[in-house]
Symmetry: C2
Subunit: 342 residues, 2 copies
């Protein structure tokens, strides 16, 4: 197995060269004869040499690692994103160090402090609550997921990747309109989801364009983005006698809760109320009825994030990149009525 006690010195001795030469061969730096290279490689192989990343990082003033800060890795969206992010960075020799913040700003600060102490080469921060300007101050390549960045960007060290939330709102609006909804309701995803307003605004605009007004009293802000919040919000709306015939829930978990509440009260979906969710998590197809939803593409977001991060670390970017990842409507039974049935 890998004997972690072998150092450059021993490789150098075994190959009959200096440590500098060994280093050059390993890093493809400077010049050396093919013969020397062969001897060094043979020694590395034979001794099972593994360069000490700590020493390397200390010398280079940065670790071959990227910090990843997410609200909660057990959220399907983040965990799926991380799979491709990790793979993309690993292929380039970078490892990832992960932290959960649980949407706690103080925890987020602690994570940044820890990453600074580790001298990571970059930071991927999802649903960050901090001021994006902090990234500029830190001077470490930072990539935000699902976070609006000011017009004009923030220099070469700050990039962002997120779903096309304007398209999300638009698609949801069209789908409900096509289903014949006249009084749509929105369940937003406020807490810690900075992109929710973009979706709501775009949803309202597209509805207006289609001649369906969105009444403010039908924009509801549940306390969280989970199943119980969706359930309780809709149950409360029904109790209050709120009149609605469509729901755009900004997470699938909210939507599933909404379906449950509607089912309990005997409100038929989609006949009486059409429902559109957001994210297309595994659960969505198991809704009662199966849930129409706006699918995000976390795998694409993760691999794009890896690619951009590598560019930033390599200093290849004059300006940060700010990418929008397409979303798509996945139509299931929860909106199958009117035009949609055809």
């Amino acid at each position: 197995m890998t004997d972690s006690r072998v150092t450059v010195r021993e490789v150098a001795r075994a190959a009959g060269v200096s440590v500098a030469t060994v280093s050059r061969v390993i890093n493809h730096n400077g010049r050396f004869s093919a013969q020397t290279e062969a001897r060094v490689r043979e020694a590395i192989e034979r001794l099972h040499y593994q360069p000490n990343q700590l020493a390397r990082g200390l010398r280079q003033q940065r670790a071959d690692a990227v910090g990843v800060i997410v609200p909660n890795i057990s959220n399907e969206f983040f965990s799926r994103m991380i799979v491709t992010l990790q793979a993309g960075l690993f292929a380039a020799g970078l490892s990832i160090v992960i932290y959960n913040t649980n949407h706690d700003p103080d925890m987020e600060r602690q994570c940044h402090a820890s990453l600074a102490a580790q001298r990571v080469s970059g930071i991927v921060s999802a649903n960050s609550l901090e001021d994006v300007r902090a990234a500029v101050r830190r001077d470490v390549p930072t990539l935000y997921i699902d976070r609006e960045v000011p017009e004009g960007g923030l220099g070469p060290n700050v990039s962002s990747v997120m779903s096309d939330n304007v398209a999300s709102g638009r698609l949801a609006a069209r789908e409900l309109a096509r289903s014949g909804c006249a009084r749509p309701m929105v369940l937003t995803a406020t807490a810690g989801f900075p992109v929710t307003e973009v979706r709501t605004r775009s949803f309202a605009q597209e509805l207006a364009r289609l001649g369906v007004p969105l009444d403010k009293k039908r924009v509801i802000h549940p306390p969280a983005t989970d199943f119980p919040s969706g359930h309780d919000a809709v149950a409360a709306a029904l109790d209050a006698g709120l009149d609605f015939d469509g729901v755009f829930a900004q997470t699938d978990r909210l939507a599933m809760g909404a379906l449950e509440a509607l089912h309990e009260r005997g409100v038929r979906v989609p006949e009486d109320v059409a429902v559109v969710g957001h994210d297309d998590i595994l659960l969505a197809r198991f809704g009662r009825p199966p849930l129409t939803t706006i699918a995000q593409d976390p795998e694409r977001i993760g691999s794009l994030a890896a690619q951009i991060m590598l560019q930033m670390i390599a200093g290849e970017l004059e300006q940060g990149r700010h990418e929008l990842v397409p979303v798509r409507l996945v139509r299931r039974e929860s909106t199958m009525r009117g035009q949609n049935v055809a």
Copy 2:
């Protein structure tokens, strides 16, 4: 913010002491006067000093980090486990470096090589495919999740945590027996899940004890552990005319696929066939009908893993700890018949 360019030297100068003293204060090592400590702490505070973990790690011959190797972090079980694992280690000043192997032994080897190069203080390895003896050779505290370790353990540097799989099999057997099943079928979770056989064996034993024999031809090994595999396995069984009135599926995703296949063929659950899953993932309560399942406790597994890992790293263990985490039956409609209805 944290200025990562400040070093011990500058703190020492600012506090009017030597670097050694600063180091002592930071690490609570050796003796120093309260007055000195106050001065040093003040300087640290004022300069926003952050010890360089790379230098520290190099000096100590190990990084304050733990490697975590899982088949796929987007599997709900692993991501939930990692949340508490990460929190427990973070509280002790350790960060976690994560890798996905996708059940690929070669990738697993690469991950270990990378972790060795990073001189991590410990490794948590879930569903490992390697020979457990490799951990002894590596000489780094290793904690296996869901992996049997030879009787007598493997010394102080190898521990393990897993669900009580014997109980899993037993609970599933009793539940199906109570539902009146006479011809139960098993969908195993072969690929990369080394604990599946324990469950099957325990299931068979308990059934036998209850007077219900488990026919070998009703033990089926789907190619994977996901929804389609469960669906296809059950569809094939029905096509082949296999006679069964109960299913123990060793992952909930398999079970959900089974439910779907049964539904398609008009086989009623639980009236004609009772179904028990395993894991209690979010999906389970949305089964048609809601799925009875054996709940694992990934949060408990993660926090226990953190605790044991810290003990191993601190050298507090004479022998590795090998812990079984309780599972429990979550009864839902998919087994609600016979005795179970009462």
